[in-house]
């Protein structure tokens, strides 16, 4: 294949397919083992300073916020994040001093809520470096290449743009059509947290609603931690195996974390907490405000259960359940 153009972005998460096969042979257990551990321990054991990581979900949807708060509490630093439509997650991680590098499909913004003051300040001051650009489909297909054990996945995106120029992709002449084709390199993040609706103790996990890119990400991640709203019996999984998105042999640890996506949305269970988002967006206008938020919601509590109590406990979660079920109208307190 003739290479026509090469992106200048840093190639993150790369492994040769044979190296990946070696990892999968040595490090991923095929057996049924009880993998339940507390989230605190999972973060201690499976995340390291300087790692390149990705989180399941999308935007503020089904993202494991509990793991994010725990990484901040444990003082992780110098991490690079796959910002694959990263909204509240990357914002908090930058504010909390964990992330200082990103590969960026979408970051520094809060979708309908506007831009993110923390992320923008960090990127504009150079405190956070964008090592590579990419698009959402680009990330999806980098994980897909990895999940298939292939060095790259071809696609007709990013061509002719600066998104390609600042990415780690290459453009080659397609041997079948002769047309230029974008080749997206496989991406194996050092670790990933994926938050799910239900999971058994072995790591067989089911997700309700859209899967986004978590099927591929779960296969691509070198270390995979499942956090779950609910622990279920193995039999519940075996009764409905068609609903399993992530099987046990991909999973390194399982943590039970009810409401683990708060303040984000957990489809069909609870909607996003716009009051909390508005508080963060207001506080994060200044560095003092960021410190105030971290002190209040991260460092003053022991764990995520303590945080949930602090944000309003069962009463708040009951309101967010009603909001999810369209029983109460949505308010948008971040709209001045």
């Amino acid at each position: 294949m003739k290479v026509i153009e090469e992106g200048e972005g840093e190639l993150l998460g790369w492994m040769d397919p044979d190296e990946a096969r070696g990892w999968m042979m040595e490090r991923k257990s095929r057996g049924l083992e009880d993998k339940r551990i507390p989230l605190k321990e999972a973060v201690e054991r499976f995340t390291r300073d300087g790692d390149y990581f990705a989180l399941g979900g999308f935007g503020h949807i089904r993202v494991c916020m509990a793991a994010i708060y725990e990484m901040i509490r444990q003082g992780r630093k110098n991490m690079a994040m796959a910002a694959k439509t990263a909204v509240h997650d990357v914002d908090i991680l930058i504010g909390g001093g964990v992330v200082d590098k990103v590969e960026c499909a979408y970051a520094f913004g809060h979708e309908l809520r506007g831009l993110s003051p923390t992320g923008r300040r960090a990127a504009e001051s150079g405190r956070v470096k964008v090592l590579a650009e990419i698009s959402n489909a680009g990330f999806q297909w980098r994980f897909k290449a990895a999940s298939m054990g292939l060095p790259f996945f071809p696609a007709r995106i990013m061509l002719g743009t600066d998104t390609l120029r600042y990415s780690s992709a290459k453009v080659a002449e397609d041997p079948f059509t002769g047309k230029p084709l974008c080749l997206l390199p496989a991406c194996y993040p050092d670790f990933a947290f994926i938050h799910v609706h239900r999971c058994d103790k072995y790591g067989n996990a089911q997700i309700d609603g859209t899967i986004i890119e978590d099927r591929e990400l779960s296969m691509a991640a070198k270390r995979l931690i499942i956090t779950t709203e609910e622990m279920v019996d193995e039999e519940a999984i075996r009764q409905a195996p068609d609903r399993t998105v992530i099987p046990h042999f991909l999973v390194d640890a399982v943590c039970e974390v009810p409401y683990g996506s708060h303040p984000g949305n957990m489809p069909l269970l609870y909607y996003s907490d716009e009051e909390h988002m508005a508080e963060w967006l207001r506080l994060s206008r200044t560095e003092d405000g960021v410190r105030e938020y971290m002190e209040k919601y991260v460092n003053s509590v022991e764990d995520f259960a303590g945080y949930i109590e602090l944000v309003g406990g069962e009463e708040k979660m009951d309101y967010l359940r009603k909001l999810e079920d369209l029983e109460v109208p949505l308010e948008a307190p971040w709209r001045r």
């Binding site: 935007g59 913004g109 489909a137 680009g138 999806q140 061509l159 002719g160 996003s272 369209l326 709209r335």
Partner: protein
Amino acid sequence: MKMEYNPTELMACVAGRVLEDNRSVFVGTGLPIIASMLAQRLHAPNLLIMFEAGGIGPKIPTIPISVGDSRTFHRGVMAATMDYVMSCAQLGLIDYGFLGAAQIDPYGNLNTTVIGPHDAPKVRLPGSGGANDVGSLCHRTIILMRHDTRRFVERLDYITTPGYLTGPRAREKAGLPAGSGPYRVITQLGVMDFDIETKRMRLTSVHPGVSVDEVVENTGFELVMADEVSMTEPPTERELRLLREEIDPAGIVIG
């Protein structure tokens, strides 16, 4: 009886009218959702809405805050994956795609990544998200954005999403799908399409109360003029009532 309306409401109505029944549309947050919901309630009940996180064919009950939240597959025909929706677009199953931008050039190329140099940004914007994919893969893209000389520029600081790149046949030469590209640009001042010969932006209509000169003054490059620049039909009472009472009663997008 004439009703007062704001520029965002007008843009939502104009965008909604472009969408045809029994066609598919790739939708992002904010105005595109509003426009698509409006089209569905008026002339295009079978407009097929797709979201990048995997929501396909939903009956959207209230405005989603994210293109991934649970409203995006509410009573849908499928809750799929990003791979599935992006593959649909690449396969040629998505007719329209909505885009917004901080900057646009005469060929409809878009910047949502950075103002100033990439490695020393003056303003850092969110990046491509799914925009490059929508602009690369949908048959026709509709761009919704504010119109002024800071945004309508001769040269972008950074090309996030391809329009017609450098002109006729440039998309195909770069390897992008044949025959795809920007279709309409809808702003608070008027509606533009792209000249068939040159692929440069062309003014086709001005909104009520806006002059052609005003559009020209607010554009940082030379606009091609349609033989006859028409006047946009103002929002109807029915359109406005749907927007305010059913689609966005809290005024989250339309203000």
